[in-house]
Amino acid sequence: MAKTFDVTKHVLVPKHTKLSEKERTELFEKYVIELQNLPRIAKNDPVIQSLDVKEGDIVKISRKSATAGETVFYRRVSA
């Protein structure tokens, strides 16, 4: 069936991007964390279907925030 609706275009869906290898290590160093410490996002979550991600990748989410204007969030892709 052809795609009729693209969730990522919806106004309420924040921007999701995949982190590159370099950004990944930078993130780990910045927060002194391991992959396990990040919040999760399901691999089959509709918003990341077009991102070509696999388990263990990190997704960066930039959302609008009531307190900070814009804020970034990171999630690891899990099964």
């Binding site: 964390i33 396990q36 410490n37 990040l38 009531a66 307190t67 900070a68 804020t71 969030f73 990171y74």
Partner: protein, 890 residues
């Protein structure tokens, strides 16, 4: 699981015992004693195992076999082999235990057992037994899974257990079994399987034949150990046949002590009564079996025994009538002792109670400092603070001991270095005084300046428990400054509060540094002051800041009353303004720009109030007083508290000087005003009548997405609200600063324009669920209206004011909404309280780390910056940081 099912490993048992002994010794706890106790061997509990007691184990741990239901002989001495057998422990002072030789309180008691004439089912295991009977072959006892599928199933089950726990594993086993013997075929023999069902509470039926406990037990015995492991039972600690009782352990007498009544009669514990029943029936069953009685009689007795054993464990089984006392009140047996709110777990183990605390009604005292708490003398003489004697305070403490417990400030106890605690009385006073030397501890009465923690439930806040300093006062209530009512959410309509006295130097230091009122000024919720002036203090300052013709005498009186002694600035002038008096309290380099409630600017320059009036926006609590926030930021908590106290007292003092009262006359309006209001309301009624007419004619146009009827309702509501608001405008025109009700409203200390409108102009539309009232009879609200009447009057619009008086119809509508809101609050408070509790419990161990991230206890990130902007609200102003002002100040 029931208490009985605990089987602790041998090694562990010793460890547990060790802990018990240590807690017993706690009373004589002291450093010297700790050092002399070097012979203690500490053991670590390596594991705890839960299982089912085997008959062998029951006999092994028992120290007496119980054979007779009699308790005492003619002399009142316990019968050997009776339920109160002396071998089961001691409950009488002075006696020694027949089994272990220890005295009362030292001997923890010993189990006994009875041999049951016929086996009975343990109620608490019925579901497990049923699962096992259904899942195993009646002939071989093997699990009904085809042998070739077994290995694969095991791996699958292990995975389920690891992920979801043992209960899920058992469910999965049942599912597997159901699959394996599809069509009722036994995979081993190929025979047809009869369905095993339960006959509640404790009977088992196969097909249509009843299985006796003996048969059930025989079947369970057949199940091989390996198959039990698949089922999730450890065969070493929980063989299923042990779930059918053949011997019953008798709990020690220490578990069920008898009480001697005032009349000298003995009253036995509920458990003893129940055990008596069991022993008696058991005895009869034995006799009947031996005498070769007919099977029916034996069956009957057997069922009776089953009933007694069942109710011994649980007297609240749905299908059984509970066993009762002769008075008709149900017996409290083992399950009832453990479960629910009043049970051992929630009441005794998880319940937290403390010593050195007090609770009474609270009342206000504006002359107390904000961080003080007034403690009644009677309470101060009961609560105590331990002080260790040394060379320098010996004489000082001796005076306390000298005065004793009756005279304030005295002392209640003297504690020797070896931990022995002695009460001071008139007789022991001299000896205690003689004995006192460095190293002793004197528990002296509570005195002014001692540290106390003050609390009001519900403790939803960290500000619900704050550290205050004690002021011992006459009277019988705990007292606090009304300015700290806000954080506690307290009022004085009968509220009670709790007081705790920290007993160690460490706890006092902690309370002082972390919990003192000063440290809690700025709420972490909105970054503004929670503590501030209320009621009269606001009104007073509001009036004072508007007043500009005080005499120097008046000004001096006010200032002296709040503790300002440097009166030179006031002396020699003819007229002094209230603003000048107020300014005297402020630091000299203080600058502030804000707005008052009326929207006019308030300016303080170099510690002088130049322009504007002081009201809640400046000095109020609960997220209002901006002036307080700035004071706190620039001069710190201690100074802010002091200034706030002075401001509050200045307000109250000024009100006392000028006099302030409000009465029903404050709601009087001049004739002109009432005429205007009448016109307004009349006009509104006409407009509404017009709308209704349009609606009936069908000329009313509907709003998009609404029906015509809905549109009409909306328009009517809008028109009536408009009328009420216009009344407000009229009132504002006519009231002056002479009107005290209005003064309170304008200063923000109490009341609002709505309350004034309701009292003096028009109560307005009563609404249920956001709509005009339409409940009652079909098509009408009350029988005095015509059906389909949509007029304001018939739909809950109250035209009259409360002062003028409302008519019976209006009164009924008023009562309707009143009742509705009453019910609403009564029902919503517990619900939202529970929601809050769950939220707080879920978030309690989240923490902001040094890098600004919010993480849970295992280090997982919840937020990458606290609150997404990384702002600590308690260091901000209303959640924001005013960069512009910081730049200006530099």
């Amino acid at each position: 699981m029931a208490k009985k099912n605990e089987a602790v490993e041998e090694k562990t048992a010793e460890g547990v015992q060790e802990v018990v002994e240590r807690t017993v010794d706690k009373e004589q706890f002291s450093r010297e004693r700790m050092e002399s106790m070097t012979h203690y061997v500490y053991k670590q509990v390596s594991s705890v195992v839960f299982g089912v007691l085997s008959p062998k184990m029951i006999k092994k741990m028992a120290s007496a076999k119980i054979v007779t239901p009699e308790l005492y002989d003619k002399e009142g001495y316990p019968v050997d082999g009776g339920l109160m057998d002396v071998r089961l422990g001691v409950i009488d002072p002075g006696l020694r235990c027949k089994t272990c030789g220890a005295k009362l309180k030292e001997c923890i008691g010993h189990f006994g057992y009875i041999e049951l004439a016929r086996p009975v089912v343990h109620v608490k295991f019925v579901s497990v037994i049923l699962d096992l009977l259904r899942a195993t072959c009646p002939e071989t006892g093997r699990l009904l899974i085809a042998p070739e599928k077994l290995a694969k199933a095991k791996g699958h089950l292990d995975k389920i257990e690891e992920e979801e726990g043992q209960a899920e594993r058992r469910k999965a086993v049942k599912a597997l079994v159901a699959q394996s013997c599809r069509g009722g075929k036994n995979p081993f023999t190929g025979n047809k399987l009869e369905k095993v069902s339960i006959e509640k509470p404790t009977g088992f039926v196969e097909g249509d034949r009843r299985l006796s406990p003996i048969e059930v037990r025989a079947r369970l015995e057949k199940i091989p150990d390996e198959d039990l492991e698949i089922f999730g039972l450890n065969p070493n600690t929980a063989r299923p046949e042990w779930m059918i009782l053949t011997v019953l352990p008798i709990p020690p007498v220490t578990v069920r002590p008898s009480i001697t009544l005032e009349s000298g009669e003995r009253s036995e514990d509920d458990l003893t009564h129940k055990l008596g029943d069991i022993v008696r029936i058991n005895q009869r069953l034995f006799e009947n079996i031996n005498a070769g009685a007919p099977e029916i009689i034996i069956e009957d007795l057997w069922d009776l025994l089953q009933y007694h054993v069942t109710t011994f464990f649980d007297n609240d089984v749905a299908q059984l009538p509970p066993a009762r006392h002769r008075s008709g009140q149900p017996l409290k047996t083992i399950s009832e002792r453990i479960k629910s709110k009043e049970g051992r777990i929630r009441h005794n183990l998880a319940g937290k109670r403390t010593n050195f605390c007090a609770r009474t009604v609270i009342s206000p005292d504006p002359y107390l400092a904000l961080d003080e708490v007034g403690v009644p003398k009677i309470i101060a003489m009961k609560l105590s603070v331990p002080e260790t004697v040394n060379d320098w305070n010996m004489e000082y403490l001796k005076k306390f001991v000298q005065r004793g417990p009756q005279e304030y400030p005295g002392a209640n106890y003297v504690v020797r270095p070896d931990g022995k605690k002695k009460r001071i009385t008139e007789e022991t006073k001299e000896a205690a005084l003689e004995e006192l030397q460095p190293g002793y501890v004197v528990e002296r009465h509570l005195m002014d300046g001692d540290i106390a923690i003050f609390n009001r439930q519900p403790s939803l806040h960290r500000m619900s428990m704050m550290c205050h300093r004690v002021r011992v006062l006459p009277g019988r209530t705990l007292r606090l400054n009304p300015a700290v009512c806000n954080p506690y959410n307290a009022d004085f309509d009968g509220d009670e509060m709790n007081l705790h006295i920290p007993q160690t130097e460490e706890s006092r230091a902690e309370a002082e540094i972390l919990m003192q009122v000063q440290t809690q000024l700025i709420s972490p919720r909105y970054g503004l002051s929670v503590i501030g002036c209320i009621h009269d203090a606001i009104t007073g300052n509001y009036l004072l800041s508007k007043k500009d013709d005080l005499t120097p005498q008046q000004a001096m009186l006010l200032l002296a009353a709040v503790g300002i002694t440097d009166l030179l600035k006031v002396a020699g002038k003819k007229k002094i303004s209230g603003k000048e008096v107020f300014s005297m309290l402020l630091p000299e380099d203080f600058n502030y720009k804000g707005v008052s409630r009326s929207g006019d600017p308030v300016v303080i320059k170099d510690g002088k109030l130049i322009e504007g009036t002081v009201d809640t926006k400046a000095i109020g609590g609960e997220g209002e007083g901006r002036l307080l926030r700035l004071l706190h930021k620039q001069y710190g908590p201690a100074r802010t508290i002091k200034i706030l106290h002075q401001i509050a007292n200045l307000g109250i003092e000024y009100l006392m000087l000028s006099g302030f009262t409000t009465g029903i006359a404050d709601e009087d309006l001049p004739k002109e005003a009432t005429n205007q209001i009448d016109d307004l309301l009349h006009k509104a009624e006409e407009d509404v009548a017009l709308l209704i007419k349009q609606f009936k004619e069908g000329s009313l146009e509907a709003f998009p997405g609404r029906s015509v009827a809905e549109t009409l309702e909306m328009k009517i509501l809008e028109r009536l609200n408009k009328a009420r608001n216009e009344c407000g405008k009229v009132i504002r025109q006519f009231i002056t600063d002479k009107n005290n009700a209005a003064v309170m409203m304008f200063s923000g200390s109490r009341g609002s324009i709505t309350s004034l409108i309701q009292m003096s102009a028009c109560v307005g539309q009563q609404a249920l669920r956001g709509k005009r009232i339409d409940k009652g009879y079909s098509g009408r609200t009350l029988s005095c209206f015509k059906k389909g009447d949509l007029s304001p009057e018939s739909r809950g619009f109250i035209l009259n004011s409360l002062k003028k008086g409302i008519n019976p119809k209006e009164f009924f509508f008023f009562a309707m909404t009143g009742r509705d809101s009453l019910m609403d609050t009564a029902l919503r408070t517990p619900k939202s309280g529970y929601l809050y509790r769950r939220l707080a419990n879920a978030l309690q161990d989240l923490k902001v780390e040094y890098d600004g991230t919010v993480r849970d206890a295992s280090g997982r990130i919840i937020q990458f910056a606290y609150g997404e902007d990384g702002v600590d609200v308690s260091r901000s102003e209303n959640g924001k940081i005013d960069v512009k002002r910081i730049v200006e100040l530099e």
